[in-house]
Symmetry: C2
Subunit: 160 residues, 2 copies
């Protein structure tokens, strides 16, 4: 790599980013599975949404993002059409894992620096993509509080 | 960029990563400031630590990480020696923002791919560095639940 290339030198390469996300997805799957089935879509703290509803939103946003990495297109999902049971959520989670494994590392490098049009605005691909991961970490952490409040020990955060 | 460079093509460049973290730091600062002073180091849900204690840990880990980006060294902080009031926490937060602005973009590109020795194990620089951001998002989200439980509207997650 020449000195002139340094300003765009990677902090995270594409394969780093994909394995970063895969590690978080594995952890989030363990958090979904840790919920008592009857609490997943009903229990909440402070008037917030139940974790099952948050996890369904994470899933739909993630599926939208993987689709964009593959095709460059960001069609808005039907937010009301996601999985509605723990088993269905885990099944769709695994299917999306499979798709991310297939297409993630082959994402066009230009995807990350190019400007994209999303339903909620224009932004560089890296901003849109890492937002999906940030949103997952954010809502999953709220699931940690719910689990603690339910008396369930959550999975270790540092294990991916 | 030649085709042979593609396997290490950036998902996030160094300057992308720094601005990503700065955006999260600005949001976390707003969350710290949103807490009623008397609740910051005392209120909790589900037997978890108060948000002030979590935010102090975020600060110490972030300071350790910025120091490593600057020097390549990861000396473990004294976890008991962090700021202990809201005002002190915000002051130290601002000072670290200043340091990150000064040194972040100049981080040696080799830092991110090289293997580093941290007090809790050996890992590539990008893993160690983004862990600090993930840890911040994770604990800040727990602060969101505390704020909701306290009847305080938290700052918008998507604003950075």
């Amino acid at each position: 790599m020449t000195v002139s290339a340094l300003p765009t030198a990677p902090a995270l390469s594409i394969s780093d980013f994909v394995s970063h996300w895969q590690g978080h997805r594995a952890l989030t799957r363990r958090v979904i599975a840790a919920f008592p089935e009857e609490a997943l879509f009903t229990f909440s703290v402070g008037g917030m949404r139940p974790f099952g509803v948050q996890a369904t939103e994470i899933h739909l946003l993630s599926a939208m993002t993987v689709q964009a990495m593959d095709t460059g297109q960001w069609p808005e999902p039907d937010w009301a059409a996601g999985p509605a049971t723990q088993a269905e959520l885990l099944r769709e989670w695994d299917a999306l894992d499979e798709r991310l494994s297939q297409v993630g590392a082959g994402t066009d490098p230009a995807f990350f620096s190019a400007l994209h049009t999303l339903p909620w605005g224009n932004m560089p691909g890296w901003v849109a993509t890492i937002y999906a991961v940030d949103n997952e970490i954010h809502h999953r952490a709220q699931g940690y509080v719910y689990l603690r409040a339910l008396g369930v020990e959550p999975p270790a955060f540092y294990e991916r």
